[in-house]
């Protein structure tokens, strides 16, 4: 066990956990931030995607000991009022079916647009390939990203 000081969604947190604990479980079990989802535990599905200093990472394989001073953003902190351009576009295109993967999809999409404000279809496909949607909402995800790109 070790103590870690974290900056998550602009707030400071302190946790006392095994240094190998993935950030996902620190968020979900210790800090009650359950927006990032568990889907596979091996960085294959993207449901757990968060931002670490604006880069989209799979929190299920990121040990808490590697976070250091970097800031963490989760879906809960992506915007104050759920009005990030990507979130708004997700609602406009009514993307979700079961909704379980969508927090991860949104976090990947937001990071993509942060790095590339006007991605091509091909760039969207490549960037989003790490996020599985079992309900198959990929067509809407692509359209929503294009809308968000136009509005941000």
């Amino acid at each position: 066990m070790a103590t870690f000081h974290l900056n998550i969604n602009g707030k400071k947190h302190q946790v006392d956990v095994d240094p190998n604990t993935p950030v996902l479980w620190v968020l979900r079990d210790h800090l009650n931030l359950v927006g990032a989802k568990y889907g596979c535990g091996v960085a294959q599905c993207g449901a757990c995607t968060i931002h670490v200093d604006d880069v989209a990472l799979r929190s299920c394989i990121l040990p808490i000991s590697q976070v250091g001073n970097q800031t963490i953003t989760t879906i809960e902190g992506l915007s104050q009022n759920g009005d990030h351009p990507v979130q708004k576009a997700w609602l406009k295109h009514d993307v979700a079916q079961c909704g379980y993967c969508q927090a991860g999809q949104i976090m990947s999409a937001a990071a993509l647009l942060e790095a590339n404000s006007n991605p091509t279809d091909e760039e969207i496909r490549t960037a989003m390939t790490g996020n599985i949607c079992r309900c198959g909402t990929y067509v809407r995800i692509k359209e929503a990203i294009k809308t968000a790109a136009a509005n941000s």
Binding site: M1, V17, D18, N20, T21, P22, W25, R28, D29, H30, N32, L33, V34, G35, K37, Y38, G39, C40, G41, V42, Q44, C45, A47, T74, I75, E76, L78, G82, Q87, W90, L91, D94, A96, Q97, C98, G99, Y100, C101, Q102, A103, I106, D121, I124, R125, T126, M128, T129, G130, N131, I132, C133, R134, C135, G136, T137, Y138, V139, R140, I141, K142
Partner: protein, 738 residues
């Protein structure tokens, strides 16, 4: 004018009372026919017979609709309340939808159990409840003002005098409407007057989903709750002997470890079990439990044969001739007709086991005390869980509550209740509230799988290339993927269909559009090959057959309506501009009827770097009245992606009883870069009561893909997954690549 009764055998379908905090509360039985989560042949779950839906008309005019339907992503939490709101005549933005629980009141209305409600479908019940509310509110206003009902009109929750100035909102009159006697029958709207039904409405939980609110079972927390994980035997055919308990309870954060057994003498509906005995570990945090699982050293005992995929292929090959026959149909004399035919085509199709892989793994909260149990989590069949939990725990059903969370994917997997029972068994033994969580590996290797199938189709053409004989026989574990009375039954003079079963000790069950997803792909690929042999356009061949079925049907009744079937073929043909050839674009067509809905699809693909890319899929759908157009399009699109993905990429193999695929690094699910680039959906507009949408979009996609792949590669696709399997007709049962 359509009238609907509110009573049956003098018993009311409705219960009206004053709402807490003012206003009116209408309780009714909220059926689930629009969702069709249960496949044909499985008994109707008990929960369909209870009062479990409520409409609250508050004194502010805000209408709250409590929808008890499990929401697995099919969007019923939006579409079904829309039906109520349409007949109630309220503005959609004055409606709030909440997930209702299985209310305790349900037990006071057990007299509803039985067949009485089966005469009505969910569509009618929801309409009746809304229309009754509207009528009672109108009557209350008429009484208040001393006028006749015919002097009043209502629109968007405001009641007005036809020849006067007075008007009143639902909120202001709701408390008085409680005193009005429930009318014996009420008038329903003419579908032509629908304003909300058929419109595009967003998912009511969208804002919560995009902000990461705790909606799902995996997100559920209770003060003092412990976490639990299970370790099931590594192979089908094995059971637990013992394990290193002392070492496990010494792992940091572990509170206890023990074996549980959820087997019971008389398992009810949905009580399929992959492994009734397993090891459970209880502790403080998920990560610690995952470490404890790694430290497990268990001894397992072999109880029955450890099976593998080659064995499965051999059994299916044997049992397509020797298996137990489950269902047949025969018209004319197919054997003689095949002998006389100028051309005979025979093809065999296969598909492997598949997992459901809901993205939210199985999980459940349980708090079991000596005489009570509280169960909360993602289940499609809460009442089945309660029934089985009662047997397992020895606690009467009325002391067991089951609440449903939002469900991170169903696809049939959460019809089965074992994980809720496991949670209950763990809580009982621990004496504490616990939440059971499966790892992905637990989830994928502890399945109630889509079984492997094998079907052989045979067609006979006469010298004029008319289809004179058609036969199909199909075998699967538990059930063959054959529907003897579906198309082309009724359309061919000499017809035979035989459904057979084979045996396995691997647990199998319903998987989105059970059996239909395989039958559609195989049948539609076969008919495409037959059309080619006959020198006919594939759509024209099927239209000819449908014409025959309609005008001069062969044999006993068949399941589909030939007109509606032909309708979707013609619609997709027109919308996709079928027949127009674009260089480099390869087109496939397929259609299918299941869950009372008709879907036809045209799929365009191109080859890029040697791999197929699906450019666009056109879908023509006849599901009767479309309730929520937005949600309907979304679910059809999802079905197309699901169908393409599983036919193309997914398979589960077994070696020595062990699933060789354990996570998404080896089990391939369709990803963004493999998804169609565009999917356009068209509906046949009619006034027929709505039918299933969650499943019918999937099956034709398999056939349309196979047929487009053939155009692109010159190779027919018989064996799933298309991207991996050896397509040789003769080689599939011996060796598989990949």
């Amino acid at each position: 004018m359509t009238l609907i009764k509110t009573k049956y055998n003098r018993r009311s379908f409705l219960k009206v009372s004053a709402a807490a905090g003012g206003g009116m509360l209408i309780g009714f039985n909220w059926l689930t026919s629009c969702t069709s989560p249960v496949e044909e042949g499985i008994p109707m779950p008990n929960e369909w017979f209870e009062i479990n839906g409520y409409i609250k008309i508050g004194n502010t005019g805000l209408v709250t609709i409590y929808s008890p339907n499990p929401e697995i992503g099919q969007n019923v939490m939006t579409s079904m309340p829309m039906i109520v709101a349409e007949e109630l005549d309220v503005k959609w933005d004055h409606v709030v939808v909440e997930q209702g629980s299985l209310d305790e009141d349900a037990f006071k209305n057990r007299q509803f159990a039985g067949g009485s409600l089966s005469i009505m479908r969910g569509w009618d019940v929801l309409r009746m409840a809304g229309a009754t509310g509207r009528r009672m509110l109108l009557e209350a206003a008429a009484k208040e003002w001393g006028v006749a009902l015919s002097d009043l009109t209502v629109s968007e929750g405001i009641i007005k005098e036809v020849n006067g100035d007075r008007s009143i909102g639902y909120g202001a009159i709701a408390s008085k409407a409680v005193g009005i006697e429930v009318p014996e029958e009420v008038e329903l709207k003419d579908p032509k007057d629908f304003t909300l039904i058929g419109s595009f409405q967003k998912n009511v939980e969208g804002p919560k989903i995009v902000t990461g609110k705790p909606l799902f079972g995996l997100d559920f927390k209770r003060e003092g709750m412990l976490l639990a994980m299970i370790e099931h035997p590594p192979a089908f055919g094995m059971t637990v002997k013992d394990f290193n308990r002392d070492e496990i309870v010494a792992v940091n954060g572990v509170r206890d470890a023990f074996t549980i057994d959820i087997s019971m003498d008389d398992p009810g509906f949905g009580n399929e079990n992959a492994f009734p005995q397993m090891i459970a570990i209880v502790g403080d945090s998920t990560w610690q439990l995952m470490q404890a699982k790694k430290a497990l050293k268990a001894n397992w005992e072999i109880e029955s044969e450890l099976e593998n995929s080659e064995m499965h292929a051999q059994r299916l090959k044997r049992d397509i001739d020797q298996g137990e026959v489950q269902e047949t149909r025969k018209d004319g004399n197919p054997e003689a007709a095949f002998t006389k035919a100028a051309k005979v085509i025979e093809r065999t199709y296969t598909a492997p086991f598949q997992a459901h892989n809901t993205l939210e793994p199985m999980n459940f909260f349980a708090h079991v005390t000596t005489d009570k149990a509280e169960l909360i989590g993602p289940t499609q069949t809460p009442n089945s869980l309660r029934e089985s939990a009662s047997k397992l725990l020895g606690i009467p059903e009325e002391n067991i509550s089951v609440d449903i969370t939002r469900i991170g994917g169903g696809f049939g997997r959460r019809l089965y209740v074992h994980y809720g029972l496991e949670a209950a068994a763990i809580s009982k033994k621990t004496g504490a509230p616990i939440k059971l969580i499966y790892t992905r590996e637990d989830d994928m290797t502890h399945g109630i799988y889509r079984p492997a199938y094998r079907s052989t189709y045979k067609a006979g053409l006469d010298e004029n290339n008319n289809l004179i004989a058609y036969s199909v026989k199909g075998v699967g574990f538990r059930e063959g993927a054959i529907f003897p009375n579906r198309f082309p039954a009724g359309a061919v003079d000499h017809y035979a269909a035989t459904k057979l079963k084979s045996e396995t000790n691997i647990s199998t069950g319903a998987w989105r559009a059970p059996r239909s997803h395989f039958e559609a792909g195989a049948q539609q690929a076969f008919l495409d090959e037959v059309a080619e042999a006959a020198g006919k356009d594939t759509i024209e061949l099927q239209l000819e057959l449908l014409d025959r079925a309609k005008n001069n049907p062969v044999g006993e009744k068949y399941e589909y309506e030939a007109d509606r079937y032909a309708g979707v073929l013609k619609l997709v043909k027109e919308k996709a501009n079928w027949g127009a050839e674009v260089p480099g674009v390869h087109r496939g067509f397929a259609a299918y009827f299941c869950h009372n809905s008709y879907v036809a699809q045209v799929l365009d693909l191109v080859m890029k770097d040697g791999l197929p890319v699906v450019k666009k899929v056109w879908c023509a759908v006849d599901c009767g009245i479309v309730v929520n157009r937005e949600g309907a399009i979304n679910i059809i699109q999802g079905g197309v992606v699901d169908g393409i993905g599983h036919a193309m990429y997914s398979e589960l193999k077994f070696e020595n009883g062990v699933s060789t695929h354990k996570n998404f690094n080896t089990y391939q699910l369709v990803r963004h870069n493999q998804s169609p680039e565009e999917i356009e959906v068209f509906f046949v507009e009619n006034d027929i009561s709505p039918t299933g949408l969650g499943e019918p979009g999937l099956p034709p996609a398999v056939g349309a893909l196979a047929n487009a792949l053939y155009k692109a590669t010159g190779q027919r696709y018989y064996h799933q997954p298309f991207a991996i399997a050896n397509q040789d007709q003769n080689a599939f049962d011996i060796s598989r690549t990949g």
